[in-house]
Amino acid sequence: MPRISLTVDGVRYDDDVEPRTLLVHHLRERLGKVGTVVGCDTSNCGACTVLMSGEAVKSCTVLAVQADGADITTVEGLAGPDGKLHPVQQAFHDRHALQCGFCTPGMIMAAVDLLAENPDPTDEEIREGLEGNLCRCTGYQNIVRAVRDAAAAMRSAAAPQESVPIGGGA
């Protein structure tokens, strides 16, 4: 069996895998990363989306051997070490951007990927950007609002901190 080395959510794992093992099964069943879910059998739903070397992929449509050497981020690796939620996670929470929650890990990872490329998307760009992810609770309205909020939060966090004059000095 080929031996692969993956960094998942900041931790390195070396494992022997059967070539037919899908990345999502490796993550869930070998590494215990069950935050990433399997929602369909046809590569449509996007629930299993993770970042591979910084880009969103459907982990049900990648062989674990193809990912050898890659840096993988799952939904479990987004929050800070202190448990502080990633702005996209926080916005999904605040906006109630989920009902059953099954699509949420994939939606969040796809949104993180979209915002890395386009920090200020229009609603239409958000919808296009998330077209690889299906929500069957008809929750798209709040998902789009959450991504818009997260984009604004991330932009303001990234903006250079201006020194605020105190006491109206001239």
Partner: protein
């Protein structure tokens, strides 16, 4: 479901890939980005004994210029095509169509070579390669050979490549002075095209000097709409002339009827979409 068991090879050169494939015979499959093949394996519609992964072959990635052509490595990903300045300048039709392929996640892994080799008649890039007069560079045990797109797509999911051969590059003539457009019709996000039309138009004074029109999903292979091309050559660059030429878009096609659309509907779409694609490519208001 998970795929049935297979052996796995990850060569680092084209030569090594060809050697492994030649020794393995017909039961081996080439793995490019996997975005068509892995779903097929997972549904167990195919059960190859060996997968030869081209992902480790650096020479197959990237876009370069060679004289009048762009040379696009077969393992260049859709996402790379969308960002490539040479493609944007010399083959914007390819970028426009690639942007409609599946979704972001799939475009991060899927490759141009994989898409063309899979030869799905509903895929967007086969018809684009026809409209651009692309030429495929194929490596095999006897060395390299070139096959024009017009001879590459042989039948449903079937190309002119033989077992033991690998698509290494797609060569696209630089199209300066041509207008292009890809018109795709589908009903829901990430769906395949019910019908798509790739058009390239070169205008001269008030006329259309030359046109290339290719159809997605109007038969078992992508098809050139030669009757439309002939009607457009030398025609006035007007909405009427385009509408009249587009009326023969379905000539010589054999669209399927399936759960998404009837053959009659596809025939109708081919004409409407051809009119729109040619008008957009020629910068003509089709009103």
């Amino acid at each position: 479901m998970i795929p049935s068991a297979f052996d796995y090879a990850r060569p680092s050169t084209v030569q090594e890939a060809v050697r492994i494939l030649s020794e393995a015979g017909e039961d081996a499959k080439v793995l490019a980005g996997g975005q068509s093949l892995i779903p097929v394996l997972r549904l167990r519609l195919a059960a190859p004994s060996l997968l030869v992964d081209l992902g480790g072959i650096a020479e197959l990635r990237g876009v370069s210029e060679s004289g009048d052509e762009l040379v696009i490595g077969a393992m260049t990903r859709h996402a790379d095509i969308l960002r490539d300045p040479l493609v944007a300048r010399y083959a914007p039709l390819l970028a426009q169509a690639t942007a409609t392929v599946a979704d972001r996640q799939v475009r991060h892994l899927g490759t141009i070579g994989g898409s063309l080799s899979h030869a799905d008649p509903a895929g967007d890039l086969p018809s684009v390669s026809l409209a651009l007069d692309a030429v495929m560079t194929i490596a095999g045990p006897a060395g390299e050979r070139s096959v024009p797109a017009s001879e590459f797509f042989v039948d449903y999911l079937t190309t002119a490549m033989q077992p033991g051969e690998v698509l290494v590059a797609v060569r696209v003539p630089k199209r300066e002075g041509w207008g292009t457009h890809y018109e795709k019709f589908n009903r829901v996000a990430q769906a395949w095209a019910l019908v798509g039309v790739a058009a390239a138009v070169r205008r001269e004074n008030g006329s259309i000097a030359e046109a290339r029109v290719a159809l997605t999903n109007m038969g078992t292979t992508p098809l050139r709409a030669t009757a439309v091309e002939q009607a457009l050559a030398g025609a006035l660059a007007s909405a009427d002339a385009i509408a009249s030429a587009a009326a023969s878009a379905a000539e010589g096609t054999s669209p399927s009827s399936d759960v998404s659309a009837s053959a009659e509907y596809r025939t109708h779409l081919a004409k409407v979409l051809t009119r729109r694609a040619v008008a957009a490519a020629g910068g003509i208001d089709a009103a």
